[in-house]
C-alpha cells in the first residue's frame, strides 16, 4: 500500500489544462461549453459510444479522452453504458449493414432531446472502405447527424475540439 501511495503521490495529477495547452481560443471555448453543459445538461453530458463498423482505431482514441492527460470528466462529459442514460451518441465506422439495425435501436433507445456526432472519416462518408456492398457509407445515411468529426482516427484533441464546437453551436 505504501508503494502505491508513494507512486500515486510521486506522479501526482498529470491532467492538462483545457484541452490543448497554449491555445487560448480553445480554453475559452472549453469554459463556454462547460457553461452550456452546466445549463442545458445540469452539469453532466452523458455520451454513449457506438462502434458501427470501425476498425477500432477511433475507439482507441476515444478511450484516450478518459486517460489522465485528457480527463474529459472535468468538463462534465462522461461515457455511459446504456443509451437510455445518454444525451449524445458518438458513432464510429461506416455503419456496416450488419450493425444498421442495432445502431437504429440504440438511437431509438436514447431519450430525446438527443444528439448524434459521426466520428472518424468512415463515419463521415464511408472513408477508406468507400462504396461497398457491406456498409451504408456513413452515419448520416442512417441517422440524423448533428456534427462530424473527421480524422483517421481523430486525435483526442480533435475529438475534444469537435465536441466543444458541436455544443457551442447547439
Amino acid at each position: 500500500m505504501y508503494r502505491i501511495l508513494r507512486k500515486t503521490l510521486g506522479i501526482g495529477v498529470v491532467t492538462e489544462k483545457a484541452p490543448v495547452q497554449h491555445d487560448k481560443n480553445l480554453e475559452k471555448l472549453g469554459i463556454e461549453v462547460k457553461r452550456i453543459i452546466d445549463k442545458r445538461f445540469h452539469g453532466s453530458l452523458a455520451i454513449r459510444e457506438v462502434d458501427a463498423g470501425s476498425c477500432n482505431a477511433c475507439e482507441l482514441e476515444i478511450h484516450a479522452l478518459n486517460n489522465p492527460f485528457h480527463d474529459v470528466e472535468r468538463f462534465g462529459i462522461h461515457f455511459v453504458a446504456s443509451p437510455r442514460h445518454a444525451d449524445l451518441l458518438l458513432v464510429t465506422g461506416p455503419v456496416s449493414r450488419h450493425m444498421q439495425a442495432a445502431l437504429l435501436r440504440t438511437w431509438e433507445a436514447t431519450p430525446s432531446p438527443k444528439y448524434v456526432i459521426a466520428v472518424g472519416d468512415c463515419a463521415c462518408d464511408g472513408g477508406e472502405f468507400g462504396d461497398i456492398y457491406a456498409t451504408c457509407g456513413g452515419v448520416d445515411k442512417v441517422l440524423p447527424v448533428d456534427a462530424l468529426i473527421p480524422g483517421c482516427p481523430p486525435t483526442p484533441e480533435a475529438l475534444l475540439r469537435g465536441l466543444l464546437a458541436c455544443f457551442a453551436r447547439i
Binding site: R3, I4, K7, T8, I11, V14, E49, V50, D51, A52, G53, S54, C55, N56, A57, C58, E59, L60, E61, I62, H63, A64, N66, N67, P68, F69, H70, F79, A81, S82, P83, G93, P94, S96, R97, H98, M99, Q100, A101, A102, L104, R105, T106, E128, F129, G130, D131, I132, Y133, A134, T135, C136, G137, C152, P153, T155
Partner: protein
C-alpha cells in the same frame, strides 16, 4: 535444424495414403512450400497433417474464372506449408478440415458465406460472417457480385440477424444471458450468448460478423499503395502489423526487396505498436477487477508513448507509415537519442510498476487461476501471440521464422505453462521488456540508406504471401495481383480467428462477473475477424 526437413516425411505419408501431389513448388508462394492436391484428398491431407502435429493457420478461397482455388496454410517448426486445390465454381464441394483441426471451423464457414464453398462433412454448416445483408445463395467474393453499394438492391434497413440458431442448454436453473452487439464500454460490437447456472458460466457462444465491411471485396482493383492503406485498417490497433504483412506479400510477389533501413524502421514501428497495446491492455485488465491505480499509470505511459509517435512519425497510432517498398518516415540522430531516452525511462517506470502489480494480493486473487486455457486446447485451436504463449505455445514468427530485421537481430521466444489471465498479463509484461531491449539494440545498429525502394510493375499475374508477428500474434496476408498491378484477391488472416474460439473455452466454469477480465486478457479484434 534445416528448413523443411520434415516435409519429406509428410510427402511419404501422402504417398502411403495414395494422396496424389499434382505439383509442388518452393518458390511460388515462398517462404511457404506449395503442394497442389486433388479436392477429394483435401480432408485426408489435413488428417495426416494433424497426425504430424502441424499447426493449422488459416484457409481462404480465390475465385478465378470458373473455378475456386482453395488454400490452407499449415506450420511446423517455423516452416509454412500451403495446401492448394481447385474446385469447380458450379460444384464447389470440398471435404472439411475442421474434423482434424477445430481451428478450421469458422474460417471454413466464412469461405462458405463469402465464396459459396460447400464443405461436405463440416459438423456445423450454420452461417458465420453472413447475417442478413445478402442472400444465402449469393456470394460477395465471386466475380458476378456487385462490389458497389449502389449496384446492389438494398432494403432501407438491413434486418438484424435475430434468428441465428444458437445452441441451447436446457435444464433446471439454467438461464441464458444475451450480451451485445452493442456492449457496455467503448469497444467493438459482437454478440455473446451465455448459458449460466447461478454465477457459473456453463457455455459461451459467440456470434460475430457485426463489423463486416467487405474488406476482401474492397481490396479488389486497388493498386499496391491503396491495398496497404486498406490493410492498415483491417484492425486499427494492429495497423503497422497488417500493413507490414500486406507489404511483404506484395514485395514477394513482385520480387522487390526493401532496403535494410526500411525493414529496421518497420520493425521499430511494429514493436512500438506492441508496447502501446500491451501497456493499454495491462492497465485495462487490472481495471476490470477494480484496480484503478494500474489503469491510471498504464494509460499515462501509453499516452506519452503515442505522443512520441506523433512527434517523430506524425501519427499517434502509426497509420499509413508503411508503404510498398519501404516506409514513409525516417529517423534522424536527434530522434534516435529521444527514443533511447524514452526506452530508458519507460524501462524504469515499468520495472517499478509491474513489480508493484505482481506484488498485489488483491490482483493476484482475481487474476491467478482465472480464465484457464489448457495448453492442449491452445495447440488445437492454433493460438499464437500472448494467448498461445501463456498456454505453453512458444511460437513467435520473430524467432521461429525470422524475417528482416529480426533475422539480423534475434528476439527471444517466451512461453509459460499456467494458461490463466495472470500468465497472459505476465507474458505481455515480459514482451514489453523484450521489445524495449530489442529496440535499443536496433537503434545501435541502424543501417544508413534509403527507406524507399521503387516497386517494379508486374509482367504477368503474380501472387505473394506475408507473415508478420503482430502484437496479437501471427498475421498472414495473401495477395494476388493482375499484370497491371491491380489487386484481385486479398486475404488478411488476423490472429483473432484463433483467439476468439479460445475465449469460448477460457470462460467455461468461470463466474459471469469475470467475463470482462477474461475477454480483455485475450482481446480479440472484432474488425480483424469480421473483415
Amino acid at each position: 535444424m534445416a528448413r523443411f526437413d520434415w516435409l519429406s516425411e509428410y510427402l511419404a505419408l501422402l504417398q502411403d495414403e495414395h494422396v496424389l501431389v499434382r505439383r509442388g513448388s518452393a518458390r511460388e508462394l515462398a517462404p511457404a512450400h506449395l503442394l497442389e492436391i486433388d479436392a477429394e484428398d483435401w480432408g485426408r491431407s489435413a488428417q495426416l497433417a494433424a497426425m504430424q502435429d502441424y499447426r493449422w493457420c488459416g484457409m481462404w478461397g480465390d475465385a478465378v474464372d470458373d473455378h475456386i482455388k482453395v488454400y490452407a496454410c499449415l506450420e511446423h517448426q517455423g516452416d509454412y506449408l500451403m495446401l492448394q486445390t481447385v474446385v469447380d465454381l458450379q460444384m464447389p464441394l470440398l471435404p472439411s478440415h475442421s474434423l482434424s483441426f477445430p481451428a478450421a471451423d469458422r474460417p471454413e464457414r466464412h469461405a462458405q458465406d463469402l465464396l459459396g464453398l460447400v464443405f461436405s462433412d463440416h459438423p456445423d454448416s450454420r452461417r458465420w460472417t453472413r447475417h442478413q445483408a445478402w442472400d444465402e445463395a449469393v456470394y460477395p467474393l465471386r466475380g458476378d457480385f456487385p462490389a458497389n453499394r449502389s449496384d446492389s438492391a438494398q432494403p432501407a434497413v438491413t434486418p438484424p440477424d435475430g434468428d441465428y440458431p444458437f445452441r441451447q442448454i436446457k435444464g433446471e436453473g439454467v438461464c441464458e444471458i444475451l450480451v451485445g452487439p452493442v456492449h457496455a464500454g467503448i469497444i467493438e460490437p459482437g454478440h455473446f450468448r451465455f448459458n449460466a447456472l447461478g454465477e457459473e458460466i456453463l457455455s459461451l457462444e459467440q456470434h460475430l460478423g457485426y463489423v463486416h465491411k467487405g474488406i476482401e471485396k474492397a481490396a479488389v482493383g486497388r493498386d499496391a499503395a491503396g491495398l496497404v492503406k486498406l490493410a492498415g485498417r483491417v484492425s486499427g490497433d494492429s495497423t503497422v502489423a497488417h500493413a507490414w504483412a500486406a507489404c511483404q506479400a506484395i514485395e514477394r510477389a513482385l520480387s522487390c526487396q526493401p532496403g535494410r533501413r526500411a525493414n529496421q524502421l518497420r520493425g521499430l514501428l511494429c514493436e512500438r505498436e506492441r508496447v502501446a497495446n500491451h501497456l493499454g491492455d495491462i492497465g485495462a485488465i487490472c481495471n476490470d477487477v477494480g484496480f484503478a491505480f494500474a489503469i491510471y499509470q498504464c494509460s499515462r505511459l501509453r499516452e506519452l508513448w503515442q505522443r512520441r509517435n506523433h512527434e517523430l512519425f506524425a501519427h499517434r497510432l502509426l497509420m499509413d507509415r508503411l508503404i510498398p517498398g519501404g516506409v514513409r518516415c525516417d529517423l534522424d540522430t536527434a530522434g534516435i537519442e529521444v527514443l533511447r531516452q524514452d526506452h530508458g525511462e519507460l524501462r524504469q517506470e515499468i520495472t517499478e510498476l509491474f513489480d508493484l502489480l505482481e506484488d498485489q494480493p488483491s490482483l493476484e486473487d482475481r487474476l491467478l487461476g482465472t480464465g484457464y486455457l489448457r495448453p492442449a486446447t491452445a495447440r488445437a485451436l492454433g493460438c499464437t501471440g500472448f494467448v498461445g504463449k501463456a498456454s505453453g505455445q512458444p511460437f513467435d514468427l520473430r524467432s521461429a521464422h525470422p524475417y528482416p530485421p529480426y533475422a539480423q537481430l534475434p528476439m527471444p521466444a517466451r512461453s509459460r505453462e499456467e494458461g490463466d489471465v495472470l500468465a497472459r498479463v505476465q507474458i505481455r509484461m515480459q514482451e514489453i521488456h523484450d521489445s524495449l531491449d530489442w529496440m535499443d539494440r536496433l537503434l545501435d545498429t541502424l543501417d544508413e540508406g534509403s527507406v524507399q525502394t521503387e516497386l517494379p510493375q508486374p509482367k504477368q499475374e503474380v501472387q505473394g504471401i506475408g507473415f508478420v508477428e503482430g502484437w496479437r500474434g501471427e498475421i498472414i496476408s495473401f495477395v494476388r495481383m493482375d499484370e497491371r498491378g491491380k489487386v484481385q484477391r486479398f486475404f488478411p488472416r488476423d490472429p483473432s480467428w484463433h483467439s476468439w474460439p479460445a475465449l469460448e473455452r477460457i470462460v467455461m466454469g468461470n463466474i459471469v462477473p469475470d467475463f470482462p477480465v477474461c475477454n480483455k486478457s485475450v482481446n480479440g479484434s472484432y474488425s480483424g475477424h469480421d473483415l
